[in-house]
Amino acid sequence: MLLVPCPNCGPRNSTDLRYGGESHARPDPNTASPAEWRAYLYLRDNPAGWLRENWYCASGCRRWFSIERNTATNEFRDPPLPGDKRGGAA
């Protein structure tokens, strides 16, 4: 099981956290075209390599944070940042 480095709680089992998916900027809801909005809702880059993604420390400090993970090796790259971009729709 992956160890996820929460900036507050330290490395925790991934089951302690909620995966928030790829970091993804929210378009302006008043100007977004349907294509832009649906890209925000449904389309992900899904790279084999470095990816900035969100985690929620659900069983710990309850902070959302974002961090880069290499999806091919599961290596995390410092530093974790406060969650600044929302993941997908709930």
């Binding site: 099981m1 330290g10 909005w37 809702l41 959302w64 969650g83 709930a90």
Partner: protein
């Protein structure tokens, strides 16, 4: 072959003073403490232990250990027990599997007469057509299925789990593994040493060499004096990300099996080597055993494996087996040396025993053939760590390639050396493992912001300066000049594999699945490399070119009970639960909560609420305490409706949609003070909405000043509902004017109730009656409930449960998110589209809801069957006339005791949503009934006069 117990051996593990009696297929047998089931039976002269899977051929001992495919037995109600490993216990009722009517006379052995037809893919090819006979085929073939019998009446046994965080886990307790554990422990690491066998020592245990025995005693003494935690009869079954290990412990004193989840900082893989059988004609005849089996039988249990043996030896272990056999009185008819070109071709004899061995062109009378043809490296844990081991033809086995640096191999898996060399490599591996574990430990601790500070810098990642082990040359011996069994578990011969390759299944992964080779109980431990060799031969290629299958977890089987372990799921009850239990409650599980469903008669509970007054415990209702100047902005962002002008003491209903416009949750939120709000959510949505709120606040609006506290369980919640609820409340409430003018519908007041200060009281209700929703500090919940019951006895107060509430909310047409809506239900489909205020600057899901406003959508509507006595099932389809064209479905249905008729909510296509539309409902029975859509959601009191009262 006649096996029998011989005199005391210096290496034996049996206690001849402790005689154990047991039964084998109903007959009385005995063995000694320390025997396995198989060694006790072998000592008593038993030769046949099972029938093979497809051909029902008699099978005897092959390896005499955990992986022996021929020693699967039933012990009592426990199927598929490995008799080569399971220790004998007094009173065991052991039975053979896969034989009918008996092990000695198996009628299905007729299969072997047709053996040449039961080739690879036989079942696929033969039982394809006609398709209508499939159920018959299945029934008949099921009686041929191998394996033991499951007793459905077996009581639940206790299983357990353990979590541990050692610095170093050593998988395998041979000399290299023990030295690794000792060395790591000596460096200050916490070490868990896991032995698959019943005792540590690995191959030293069954060696009769005096130096080996001395070393074993020395290693055991050192372990006893060390801090190493030793687990015996336990197996590391899997290695996952970041050295998360699954370990199954089979000898726990209380649990049938215990699953240990270990987070190791470094893992040492020291599983040793598995002896590989040799493929030739008659290699599955009872009397053909591996050299390891011969040595275990002779040295651990004092059993003479046969009277007159041929030994085929391609390595030192084969030579040692010949010496051990002579010592226990087996005559050695011939030693065929595989290193100098000696070859075995076949055995002959009956199906039940060997009587001669053909070797180097001559037939030699013998009742035992001992084979030492080489080794398989169990690279399983390395594979699971991402390594792809490589084949070395000079040593005739696979070696590690490039495992991650927190997984270190030692012992036979890593190479060859004499005992001292193996021990030195093990110790060096242990020191390296400890050094790297120290670096991992430092990193884990220093990255935890709130942990105690750690001294110094992170230690450097220790370089691997171990002197590598050598590689002893070994002849590549996989198949003789004849064909034989490759996979004894699945009855797959080398002929089958060659045929599969010629049919086009010539990649090893395809051939494996087509023939099922390596897919039986031994899971490739014995047969993988022979399978690869057969495919390579058929393709005219080398083993390196063909490659091997990937070893996946679990390395050794574990029971589903071990995986399930103990129940850790918490169960939640409200503070009022003891009252419910004392009052004839029927409990329903709702998520983690145990809730009152009813107290005997839900219809009577409904009538009492409609006529008098009732209490329902709604503690699981989600409650979030929101404080700060920006709460109205947060509410406006999360709900579809407007919140900027909600006055203090006012309450408003809100609907939440996700960013895709789908209904997420609903509930009421009240303003308790200037900067103080309480949000209620659905019971099932309590956790999700909290995360949703945190997500928006933390990631999208971090500058907003809002503090969120979940208070679901801080308050006990009671809804007091019914025309007499105001009268009841007036008897227990202080400090609040309950008059309808002073405390109107959709307002909230803080009050002292039954002497309890700090209660919040909301004029809202799901039932459609005049009602007061009380949130009482949880510790006083039971007291307030009892006070309400006592004070209202003359008013007819009584409890009501979830079922009565569900009936009443359906009478009122209130939808439930997730019941009447689904993952595609957009906000306007609920019929509450007018709540959605698209003129707000921003809110969750706004663009989708704006676009949806121009479309016609499926709608949630109230429906009444024309026959008032028919209650359609929930999820019954609404169809077009006599066709099966689906136009909607019933989402909720009940019989209304208030209206004396059946009532429903449903979702229908847009053109059926108008009041008065006639629809057809297809019942589960196939019957079609007529029903009518009504023009508002409320079946009862559509004007809402009662709840405003």
């Amino acid at each position: 072959m006649t096996m029998s117990r011989q005199g005391v051996q210096p290496t034996e593990v049996i206690d001849r003073a402790a005689k154990l009696r047991f039964r084998w297929n109903g007959k009385r047998f005995s063995g000694f403490e320390g025997d396995t089931i198989a060694s006790a039976l072998a000592a008593s002269g038993e030769q046949i232990f099972s029938r093979s899977m497809k051909y029902h051929r008699p099978r005897g001992i092959l390896t005499a250990d955990y992986w022996d495919p021929n020693l699967m037995v039933q012990v009592g109600d426990d199927p598929n027990v490995r008799a080569g490993h399971r220790l004998l216990e007094s009173g065991m009722d052991v039975r053979s599997q896969n034989a009918w009517p008996s092990l000695n006379r198996d009628i299905k052995a007729a299969n072997s007469l047709f053996g040449r037809f039961l080739t690879a893919g036989f079942y696929y090819k033969t039982f394809m057509r006609p398709q209508w006979l499939w159920p018959t085929y299945e029934r008949v073939l099921a009686t041929f299925a191998p394996g033991g019998k499951i007793d459905l009446d077996t009581p639940h046994a206790y299983h357990d789990k353990r979590y541990t965080h050692p610095d170093v886990v050593v998988a395998g307790a041979g000399p290299a593994g023990i030295e690794a554990a000792l060395a790591a422990s000596g460096e200050g690491a916490s070490v868990l040493l896991v032995s698959h066998e019943h005792a540590v020592g690995g191959h030293l245990r069954y060696s009769s060499d005096a130096a080996d025995q001395a070393a074993l005693a020395e290693l055991r003494a050192a372990l006893d004096a060390s801090d190493v935690e030793v687990l015996t009869d336990s197996t590391v079954t899997g290695r996952y990300e970041d050295n998360w290990l699954g370990i199954v412990q089979r000898n726990h004193p209380i649990a049938v099996e215990r699953l240990i989840k270990a987070r190791a900082k470094t893992l040492v893989a020291a599983p040793g080597l598995i002896e590989r059988p040799y493929v030739f004609e008659g290699n599955d005849r009872p009397g053909v055993i591996t050299s390891g089996a011969a040595r275990r039988l002779a040295n651990l249990w004092g059993v003479k494996p046969g009277e007159r043996a041929v030994v085929f030896s391609a390595n030192a272990d084969g030579d040692a087996a010949a010496a051990d056999l002579e010592r226990v009185g087996t005559e050695i008819a011939a030693v065929i040396d595989g290193r100098t070109g000696g070859r075995i071709s076949s055995t002959s004899g009956s199906s039940r025993a060997v009587d001669a061995v053909v070797a180097d062109g001559a037939s030699i009378d013998a009742d035992l053939l001992v084979v030492a043809a080489g080794w398989t490296a169990p690279t399983s844990l390395l594979n699971m760590a991402g390594d792809r081991p490589v084949y070395d033809p000079a040593a005739a086995r696979f070696f590690p390639s490039d495992p991650p640096s927190n997984v270190l191999a030692t012992g036979g898996l890593a190479g060859d050396a004499d005992l001292d060399g193996l021990r030195q490599h093990g110790a060096a591996t242990g020191r390296l493992a400890a050094a790297r574990a120290a670096a991992v430990r430092h990193r884990l601790q220093s990255r935890t912001a709130r942990a105690l500070p750690v001294d110094g810098d992170e230690p450097a990642w220790a370089p691997d300066e171990r002197v590598p082990l050598g590689r002893d040359p070994h002849p590549e011996l996989y198949r003789a000049d004849t064909h034989g069994m490759v996979d004894m578990s699945e009855d797959i011969s080398s002929k089958d594999l060659v045929a599969a390759a010629h049919e086009g299944y010539d990649s090893v992964e395809l051939a494996k699945r087509y023939t099922t080779a390596t897919m039986g109980p031994s899971q490739g431990k014995l047969e993988t490399v022979n399978t690869v060799a057969a495919i390579a031969e058929a393709r005219g290629e080398t083993i390196s070119q063909v490659g091997t299958t990937v070893w996946r977890p679990p390395y050794a089987p574990l029971t589903l009970g071990a995986l399930a372990g103990r129940m850790f799921e918490p169960v939640r009850v409200s503070p009022i639960h003891p009252w419910h239990e004392a009052n004839n409650v029927s409990i329903i599980q709702a998520g983690q909560w145990l809730r009152p469903d009813h107290y005997g008669d839900p219809a009577a509970e409904v009538r009492n609420v409609r006529e008098n007054v009732g209490l329902i415990d709604v503690t699981p209702l989600g409650k979030l305490d929101l404080r700060g100047p920006d709460v109205p902005k947060l509410l406006s962002l999360l709900y579809v409706n407007k919140w900027m002008k909600l006055g203090v003491g006012r309450v408003r209903y809100g609907m939440m949609c996700a960013e895709d416009g789908v209904v997420l949750d609903d509930g009421v939120t009240g303003r308790l003070g200037e900067d103080h709000y309480m949000m209620s959510t659905t019971s099932s949505g309590a956790g999700g909405v909290w995360e949703w709120v945190e997500n928006w606040l933390q990631t999208e609006r971090p500058d907003w000043q809002v503090h969120v506290t979940p208070v679901t369980t801080a308050y006990a919640s009671i809804n007091v509902a019914g025309p007499k609820s105001r009268e009841l409340m007036s008897r227990v409430c202080e400090g609040v004017d309950l008059d309808a003018e002073a405390f109107p519908y959709m307002t909230v007041r803080e009050a002292t109730v039954a002497g309890v200060a700090g209660c919040f009281m909301w004029r809202i209700g799901f039932t459609g009656e005049l009602s007061f929703e009380l949130h009482v500090p949880a510790g006083h919940g039971l007291h307030v409930w009892e006070a309400l019951m006592d004070s209202g006895s003359d008013l007819g107060v009584g409890p009501f449960g979830l079922e009565a509430q569900r009936i009443m909310r359906l009478e009122k047409g209130h939808f439930i998110v997730g019941q009447d809506t689904d993952g595609l239900t957009l906000g306007p489909s609920t019929g509450l589209g007018s709540l959605i205020k698209l003129d707000k600057d921003d809110f969750a899901g706004k663009p989708e809801l704006a676009w949806a406003a121009d479309r016609s959508l499926p709608m949630v509507v109230a429906i009444q069957p024309d026959d008032p006595d028919v209650v359609p099932e929930e999820a019954a389809q609404i169809v077009r006339g006599d066709t099966n064209e689906i136009l909607g479905r019933i989402t909720s249905s009940r019989y209304s005791p208030t209206l004396n008729r059946s009532i429903c909510l449903g979702q229908v296509e847009p053109d059926l949503a108008a009041g008065g539309t006639k629809v057809t409902v297809l019942l589960e029975s196939g019957e079609r009934i007529g029903a009518t859509v009504i023009d508002h959601h409320a079946h009862f009191d559509p004007a809402g006069e009662r709840l405003r009262g």
